[in-house]
């Protein structure tokens, strides 16, 4: 299944559900920047890209109030070790 997904990404096949790829790109972008995922930023960037500005806002606020979303990212010390993995990765695909 993964092999088919990779082939589709590499060949730039038209994506039936573009939101899924955009979500994965945001997750990978977060790992590239911090070495870990920063969920609040991933959600916000994803919503902006999908132009769903206010969708799930209530859920996000609820998660924030329960301290389930950190406002600032947790980043690893040697982030450049991880960032350089991303040169030329599928994350940079244009969809």
């Amino acid at each position: 299944m993964d092999a088919l997904r990779h082939m589709a990404v590499e060949e730039g096949v038209k994506i039936a559900q573009p939101g899924i790829v955009k979500f994965h790109e945001e997750v990978l972008g977060s790992i590239e920047r911090y070495g870990r995922t920063h969920k609040l930023e991933i959600m916000m960037r994803y919503k902006v890209r999908m132009r769903q500005w206010f969708q799930d806002m209530d859920l996000g606020l609820k998660m924030l109030s329960r301290r389930k979303l950190d406002l600032t990212p947790s980043r690893i010390h040697r982030v450049e070790e991880v960032s350089r993995l991303f040169a030329g990765s599928a994350k940079d695909g244009k969809h």
Binding site: D2, V21, R67, D70, I76, K91
Partner: protein, 145 residues
């Protein structure tokens, strides 16, 4: 409780246990303390890549968890609580142990050896292997009716 030997384990929290599932992390810490399990957080651990890496890019899906494996000391098991992280770490270890070329590539990339025999275990596996006397010593409230 004071007399039981402490057991050292490396610990990989993963992104969810550190944030959205922090209650689970807190529970784990409390239970491990009672059971005498000494969790030593993997120094400078990174995201295992999650579904996004293995859905999008095969090499990220291997190298991200491989970095964590390269950080794990081989003299103690690596404990993982998140089932998804566990799966990604174990799969990477399998690739590395079955493919010498992939192992060499990852060891060169990270500049550290990777022990293909490192035990990577979920908390429940550790729990099921604990001798009854240790469990009994840690018991706070028995469930006898």
């Amino acid at each position: 409780m004071g007399s039981i030997d402490r057991i050292d384990l490396s610990y990989f929290p993963g992104c969810s246990l550190a944030t959205t599932a922090k209650e689970s992390n807190e529970s784990l810490m409390k239970v491990c303390e009672k059971l005498g399990l000494n969790l030593i957080e993997l120094e400078d651990w990174n995201c295992c890549g999650s579904s996004s890496a293995h859905s999008m890019d095969k090499s990220l899906a291997l190298s991200l968890p491989a970095r964590n494996l390269s950080l794990a000391p081989s003299n103690r098991p690596l404990l993982v609580m998140c089932p998804s992280c566990l799966h990604r770490l174990q799969l990477a270890q399998r690739v590395i142990s079955e493919n010498p070329e992939a192992r060499l590539q990852e060891e060169t990339r990270w500049g550290r050896p990777i022990d293909p025999g490192l035990k990577i275990v979920h908390f429940f596996e550790v729990l099921s292997g604990i001798e009854p006397s240790r469990l009994e010593a840690a018991l706070v409230r028995p469930l006898r009716g």
